[in-house]
Amino acid sequence: MLQILEITFRGEAMEKFILSARDLVIKFRLRGKVLTAIRGVSLDIYEGESLAIVGESGSGKSVFTKSFMGLLDKNGWIDSGSIIYGGMDLAKFKEERDWLKIRGKEIAMVFQEPMTALNPLKTIGKQVKEAVELHQGLRGKEAKEEVIKILDDVGIRDPERRYNQYPHEFSGGMRQRVVIAIAIACRPKILICDEPTTALDVTIQAQILNLLKDLKEKYKLTTIYITHDLGVVANVADRVAVMYAGDIIEIGKTEEIFYNGQHPYTWALLSSLPQLGKKGEPLYTIQGTPPNLFQEIKGDAFAPRNPKALEIDFIHSPPYFQVSPTHKAKTWLLDPRAPHVEPPEAIKKMRKRWKEI
């Protein structure tokens, strides 16, 4: 309760957008055919917030956020739309030189795979130092001191000794701390964490998440978490965007999504949470497969997998319907003309608690 109040309070303070994506379309060419990975996504990110992007594998979470840094694979491109950051339209960037102004300095990224993300032949000190020299302009002894301070900040004990060690001398969790240290050393404004804990074991996951939360406060970062794990979301995010087949189908404050989710896909995601299932009953799983991105998608992309889909879901794609000033969803169920559709049991229970709050 207290936590929720606090989030609301903070929500009012953050009015400024730090990054705005508008109608972003991203395509890839694969064996001569073109697939549309991101289908007209718009998203405003508030300065200082912590946003989670959730969705199944292949929904486009990584592609979407990589496009903010010009890190799309070579066979992909931004087809239309804009990404406004600091008065610039990143979607218009053509040359690597333009991106060098953004990468690290403005937006940094922590990847999923800490075991391979570091150069095995360079000491971790040097690898962090590269970022310090590049983005903080420090040299020599000063740079080294800064690196040691950052290593300490990310919870690496005995940083002076660790400075000269190589990645293979670190465990997975420790390597992820080094990767985070590199990102922090760039002094970015936005930190994107692409499934930062997926490859780690559970106890380490919690440590890394706490570290990221602390660093966010300390360095006043705007953070974007990409995850399949709604448990992570509840833990770290102010807002949640639910992504499906290359579109954000629902977005709102974390508690709005958890307790008052509106899109049938959000329901499905929530119902598959172990915490919401009943003991002894099999866990809910979403039937069917995501749509083929090589073909144009008609109507609501989730309709074919939704047993209670409306007729219109197959014909017209729904616009956003505002649920609250901070919460909107793309589902025809929110249209005043729509028939009443009962959400699943688990969701109904959550809603009851929402009303109580």
Partner: protein, 314 residues
Amino acid sequence: MFNYIIKRFFQSLITLMVVITIVFALLRLMPEEGYFGEGYEKLDEQQREAILTQMGLRDPLHKQLLDFYKQLLRGDLGKSIIYRPKVDISIILNDKIPYSLRFGLSAMALSLLIGLPLGILMALNHRGFWDKLGTAYIVFINAVPAAIYYLFIQVYVTGIFKIPMLYSESNPLSWILPTISMSLGSTASYAMWMRRYMLDEMNKDYVKLAKAKGLSGPRIMLSHVLRNAFVPMVQYLPSAILYTIAGSIYIESLYSIPGMGGLLVTAIQRQDNTLVQALVLIYSSIGIFGLFLGDILMALLDPRIKLSKKAGAR
């Protein structure tokens, strides 16, 4: 690190001893004429036996092997029998090695100077013009028997530029073509390895991270990719280089260069058993030494090798 070197050193030593023993054994299987100089025909059975006994070749095998080792330890490679009868093999080699060294070193320098940059260029220009051109060259060198383009170069290029066909000490112009020919193969190998290892590295995750932290493309290439690609290269370089220096057997005979390679061919043709034995030993020691050196260099450059013994991660 020190322990690693010692360990690798003893491994090499054992390999060398195995090779020596095999060479020794093989030579006992060779026809015995190879131990007689001129006039083998004129000797009768008894005289032959007497000579062989005197040379120790009728002793029990284990004693022969032991003697052989003792002799090698003294640095004595034995005496030539047919090629230059009764002359110490080390003296013969002393005359030959400078030539092989001179051509080998220049060919090596040439192929490193061209091969490595070519490989780098091919990797940077992956699937582009330079990559295709380089690949065509590598395929050509590997697919066409060397003898064909060696001959082609010798016959036609000498004709076009009016250079003497054979090596002559006094005419430096005649040194050019053998050097170039010798470097063609290793240039292709260096380029091929370099390209492959660079591409391997370029696709690794750490390059993505380096990019994400804002390093420029050239900087990533120089301080991450190139350096890492050299580590696997370094393992093969010493043996490749040593072999080039040891002289190209074929090219030396083609251009009549009085080097080690030509010597081996002659020794085999004329069945000079002790000389063949000595040369085979030299070539194998060079190979074993090259591998040893490669492993040591690799361990120096790759921290993961040094620490393989200690419990690393925590």
